[in-house]
Symmetry: C2
């Protein structure tokens, strides 16, 4: 049930992105934008669709927000992969944008994907302007100097720091780097419906952290072919991770506890939140 639902959402988001990008002027930057939003788990977009469904928001409205968060996420990956940042050649099993094109195109395609994310949030005409604006404000808070970019800056600083990060520092880093966008995604349905986003924010904070712990476990235990990216990078770089700090068993136990916490946060939704609870479990059982 859950894998089908996720696969179906991936398809619909991909088709929607294609439609929305159809009018962009042809050229390497637009090609690179389309390339960068291909593939991936689309977990953030899926969370948007599920959060919207939970609040009775029609999918035609939610798809713009789902596409927006996927564009925002894709931009962050394109820029993070740059030689001056993480210097990655491979992403989702394919050459990264600066390898396939060049660095200038990667910078510009990332820039334009960020812009496009905000543009998409302004589109769904049937959603009152105030709610579309709330989505814009929340996405901006999640992705900028207090959110995703903040986490990425901490991550880069950690690489040259003389001492490895503590658990508190890694948690703060994660809350920015991957947590903030997951939080936006989970809250988005409540924002679209004008409902209280607090329960979904608590759910998202738990699964965001679980997701990162699972990523660290994957880096240690995973299969590079299935993951579609280089693994064992953290240990090679002598980087502190949840696994290096908690051990494999400790990290796994923490992830399990977070999944239970995520489920508890959604108790008030009852069985309507079943897919979101399955999603929480999925974040720690994936192989890529």
């Amino acid at each position: 049930m859950f894998p089908t639902r996720l696969a179906c959402a991936q398809e619909r988001i991909a088709a929607h992105l294609e439609r929305r990008m159809a009018h962009l002027p042809e050229g390497p930057v637009t090609e690179a934008m389309r390339y960068a939003v291909q593939g991936g788990k689309r977990l953030r977009g899926f969370l948007v669709l599920e959060s919207a469904a939970l609040h009775g928001i029609g999918e035609e409205i939610a798809l713009d927000a789902a596409a927006a968060v996927e564009c925002l996420h894709a931009y962050s990956l394109v820029h993070d992969d740059l030689p001056s940042m993480d210097n990655d050649d491979l992403r989702r099993g394919l050459p990264t944008v600066h390898v396939k094109w060049d660095e200038a195109t990667a910078v510009l395609a990332g820039d334009a994907l960020q812009t496009f994310a905000f543009e998409l949030l302004t589109l769904p005409q049937s959603l009152p302007a105030g709610r579309r604006l709330a989505l814009v404000a929340e996405l901006a808070r999640a992705s900028g100097a207090e959110g995703m970019v903040y986490g990425q800056a901490l991550d880069i600083a950690a690489e040259t720091a003389s001492t490895p990060l503590t658990l508190a520092e890694i948690t703060r880093l994660q809350a920015g780097k991957t947590g903030a966008l997951i939080r936006f995604s989970a809250m988005s349905g409540a924002l679209m419906a004008g409902a209280d986003p607090a329960p979904l924010a608590a759910y998202a904070d738990a699964i965001g952290l679980a997701f990162q712990i699972a990523d660290d476990l994957l880096d240690v235990e995973g299969d590079a072919d299935k993951a579609g990216k280089k693994l064992r990078k953290d240990a090679e770089a002598g980087k502190a991770t949840f696994v290096s700090l908690l051990g494999i068993a400790g990290a796994r136990a923490r992830a399990e506890a977070l999944v239970a916490e995520a489920g508890a946060a959604l108790a008030l939704y009852g069985s309507a939140a079943a897919t979101l609870i399955d999603t929480a479990r999925f974040t720690i059982s994936r192989d890529s």
Copy 2:
């Protein structure tokens, strides 16, 4: 009168940016963001304030939009200066962000400045949500893959093209690279007031083009110390410009005609548009 008004607006926008950035987490990315929005002519922010005043919009509201467009412009400069793009060491007489910090910080500071621009547009509570959303939508259109980034991509492609650009191609490039953001700035007051932005859009298209022609003239005739950046770059690079295509006298005549056109577009505003008409003249008489 005009220089005082511009200087005063520069001050107020700088103070507003400082206030709005005060809560950002300390670190190199935030420092680089503050550094990148310092100095400059703030012509775009000034256009926002004047366009707002022309429509009776209070300055406290307009300052967020003015600060937003300056952040957007600053982000574009930080990224354009990167080694993989224009590779500039000097901007406004100071080391560029990647020289003063490093490339990763420049990429992230630029990214966060773009995000911050959109966040600023969501802030002025006294402006109806629909109008704030219209500003977000217009800024996104102006700066993404159909606007500013499109122009920058054409500019980069032109550097490796086998034949120099034609006048039509340079005009299209300029309309994206510098024109789109000037257009947003000039239109913003009408958008905040719910008025027809068409006359201001026509005004902006004329001064945007005049501004670029003046830039090309400055590159040929200017004083590098006053300009605060390297000059004679276009001729050295064998790049087609309005000056190489029209000649110095031809380019100057075209710029003069555009300033007259800009004034005519604002005829319906009468003497209330005097400062905007002075601004049009300023765009072609500056030395930096």
